[in-house]
Structures are given as structure tokens and as C-alpha cells.
Symmetry: C2
Subunit: 246 residues, 2 copies
């Protein structure tokens, strides 16, 4: 009888081609699967709650895998972290879960945040962790725009052309802008998202902040169901996969 | 008539031997002096409010230099940042100040903070920006210990052997521990500090947190005027030079 293990994982997106294994590039998935092999001598397949793109960070990614042999569960977290030292990946917790648990399919809600550094001077300390926008932004308009994404919509205007989801309809539970001094934080949660959706949504909110169009145009941009009607894709390195509710 | 310019600077300590110019290692001072030369064609000497050690970060270091020729002051910040791109150094502001201003000698108060990540799992996102301490710490004891540093004391027990200050007597204006979830922030301010003093003080507060000795022993450790009576020097990469009051 195999054991299903659930991991909660923090990682820095830099230096990886994203979550998913690829032929020639280092991925988060590969790094952790290799650490699992080094620790347990088992070749496993790790499935994440959601794949993150190259450069996207995670504060609480969740993934699961099956172990065939007996292995002391309380040694998995520290054992994997030992093998992952200086990888930019840290296992926050490891626990045994029921066989029917799926990091991907059991997820009830996923949370992302996006960080903008809004000041004239470039980021020094936070370089690679924020989207630096030097011009003044209209914060009130951005707050208004953010709210207009809440609810069930066809998000075709915010969907990457390579997106493989069956339906472009998603339901946003919360979408809000919070400002703390030079930082603008965008928080969004939903059961699931389309490919590039969060980056395309915040990219569009930023265009509202720059005065390209008013917040009141957001419903029209959504209704257009056309990627070219929405704003640019925000840079990956400002995006954080925060957590998953099950 | 020369112009005196005051810079406020943010930097990441990693990759530099610290603020001060050295023969063979890249320093923050050298990087900025070279950017000033590239921008203005003048070889200047930049003086900081305080030298930081290798690895120590700055959120608001202050430095001054003199320009001989005319140069548009409003172009200095963006011009220097252009030459400092991807250096981990960002000029937050540049302004002309009176000739009698000295970043070093006019400073009335200097503020430092120290960040500890206190959890079992190593830092992934914050690696190089925090001191990771995996064991449980007694926060109340640390808060009590921190308070006992406030006031005028002989800080010989917290002074690096290479420290060149005339007197070991310093007056601490504030010294406190603030906890936010997994992070422990230590804030300390004073007119000036001895070499390694903040890192030796927080290193000692952490030993109280680990239960090596009670907070009530801090006055004795100070009174000993002996470096070996105090705790270890905390790692440089958890330390931030926050700002200077003039």
C-alpha cells in the first residue's frame, strides 16, 4: 500500500523554467523529484496544485506524490530540505494524506499576489521580486478596476494563446489593490485560473493606473473576449503563488 | 565654487566587500564613484554616514560628495541609476546641500534593523536577506533583553577587535523586538555605533532567546566590558542600515 504525501513548498522563481519538467531546462518539479529520489531512493511523479511560469515565485505551492516503501513521514521535510540546500526551494511541510487527495483536483481556492514597486528609483534590494513602475499611478482607479474582476466571467481577454483549459469561464472570489508606501499589492483568489490570467489582469489594472483607459472600461474589455483588448502581460517576477485551500 | 551633493542610497550587500573602497574587491563606494565619473566626468570622493560591512544591506544609506563643475542636480539621480543598472545599488534621491553638511559628522541619529526568519524550514525567497534560526526562541525574553540595551553604556563587550572608535561609550535611543508571524524584527537607533555592535547585540539577544542565559544577565554582560562575555556576531546578511536623521 502506497502512501500519499502532501508537500507545501516555497520557492524563488529565478533560475528555473517554472514548475513543470522540461527536456533541457531546470524546473522546480525536477529539483524536488530528484531530492525525493536522493532521500528515499524512489522515482516519483510530483503533481502540483498549479503550474507556475518561469520566474514566478511561490510562498505556499502544494504538490503530492506517492511513496511505495515505508519512510518516516517526520523525516521528509528536513530530509528534502537537506538535499535542496541553496536551490531557492524550501519544503515548508510534509504530511501523509488520504489516497483520494489531489493537490490539483482537490483544490477549492487558489490565492495569488502581485507586487509592484512604484517609485522613481529602480529596485535594488527587491530586484527580481517586484515589478518596478517608475511613473505615478492612479491608485483609486486601480482599486476600482480591481473590483470589477470579481464574479463569474469569460476571461478570454486575459488568456494566453497557449492556454489548455477547457473553458475560459472562471469565478473570481476576491480581487483587490492594497497600497503600503511605495508598494502596491494586488491580491486575487479563485478556484482556478487560466494560463497567464493573473499577469494579464494586473497588467490591465496597471494600464488603468497609467490613465490609458478608465476603470469603467473593464467590463467592455472582459466582454470583448479578445486578448488584444486587454493590457500587457505583467512580468513573471512580481507574481507570487500564495496558498491553496482544500 | 563647488557644489555639495547628498545622496540617499539603497543597496543589496551581496557581492560587495562592504561600503568602503578596497584594493581588490568591489565596494559600494567604488561602484557609485565610478557611476559619478561616468555621468559627470569628475573623480570624486564619496563619504558615507557609516561604513557597512560585507553583506550588510542598506535601505537609506546617506553619502556626500563635491562637484566642481556645473551639473543639473535634477539629472543626478536618474543619471547615476542609469550607470548603476543591475548593480544592486539604487540612488533614491540626490539633492544639493549646504557646504557644511557632512553625511558622517552631521548625523544626529542612525537606525538599523535586523531580520530573523524563525521557522523550521530554510529560507527560499528570503535567502540572503534574513538570518534563518530553526529552533524555537523565547520571544518574551528577547523583548526584555532588547530593552536593557537602551541608554548610555560602555559597549566594549559588543565591539569588534578592529573597531577604531575613540570611545566605547554609546547611547542607545531605542532597542526593540517586533514579531510578525515567522519574522522577528529587531530595531535599534543611536547617534552612532561601534564596529559590529548591532550584530553583536542581536547575536546576544538571540542567545537569550535560546535560553543560554536569562535577559536579566544583560547588565552584567555590558558591565563585563569583555567581548567574550557577550553572544556571537549575527550574520551580516540579516542586517539593514535603515536611515539617518540630520
Amino acid at each position: 500500500m502506497s502512501k500519499k504525501i502532501k508537500l507545501v513548498i516555497e520557492y524563488k522563481g529565478a533560475g528555473y523554467c517554472g514548475w513543470q519538467r522540461q527536456e533541457d531546462d531546470p524546473s522546480i518539479q525536477q529539483a524536488i523529484e530528484e531530492a525525493i529520489f536522493a532521500l528515499t531512493n524512489e522515482e516519483v511523479k510530483l503533481t502540483a496544485s498549479g503550474r507556475t511560469d518561469a520566474g514566478v515565485h511561490a510562498l505556499g505551492q502544494v504538490a503530492d506524490f506517492d511513496l511505495e516503501k515505508e519512510f518516516a513521514i517526520e523525516k521528509i521535510r528536513s530530509g528534502l530540505n537537506h538535499h535542496l540546500i541553496d536551490s531557492g526551494i524550501s519544503i515548508l511541510s510534509a504530511e501523509q494524506v488520504n489516497d483520494d487527495f489531489s493537490a490539483r483536483f482537490s483544490a477549492k481556492k487558489r490565492y495569488y499576489k502581485y507586487i509592484i514597486l512604484n517609485r522613481r528609483a529602480p529596485a535594488a534590494l527587491e530586484n527580481g521580486y517586484v515589478w518596478h513602475i517608475p511613473m505615478k499611478l492612479d491608485i483609486d482607479a486601480m482599486k476600482e478596476a480591481a473590483k470589477l474582476f470579481v464574479g463569474k466571467h469569460d476571461f478570454s481577454s486575459f488568456r494566453a494563446s497557449i492556454c489548455q483549459a477547457n473553458s475560459p469561464v472562471k469565478t473570481i472570489d476576491s480581487s483587490k489593490i492594497i497600497v503600503e508606501e511605495e508598494h502596491i499589492y494586488y491580491h486575487i483568489s479563485a478556484k482556478s485560473f487560466l494560463h497567464h490570467m493573473v499577469r494579464n489582469v494586473i497588467g490591465t489594472i496597471v494600464e488603468v493606473g497609467k490613465g490609458k483607459y478608465p476603470a469603467s472600461e473593464i467590463p467592455d474589455i472582459i466582454a470583448a473576449k479578445d486578448r488584444s483588448s486587454a493590457g500587457q502581460t505583467a512580468p513573471a517576477h512580481g507574481l507570487y503563488f500564495v496558498k491553496v485551500d482544500y
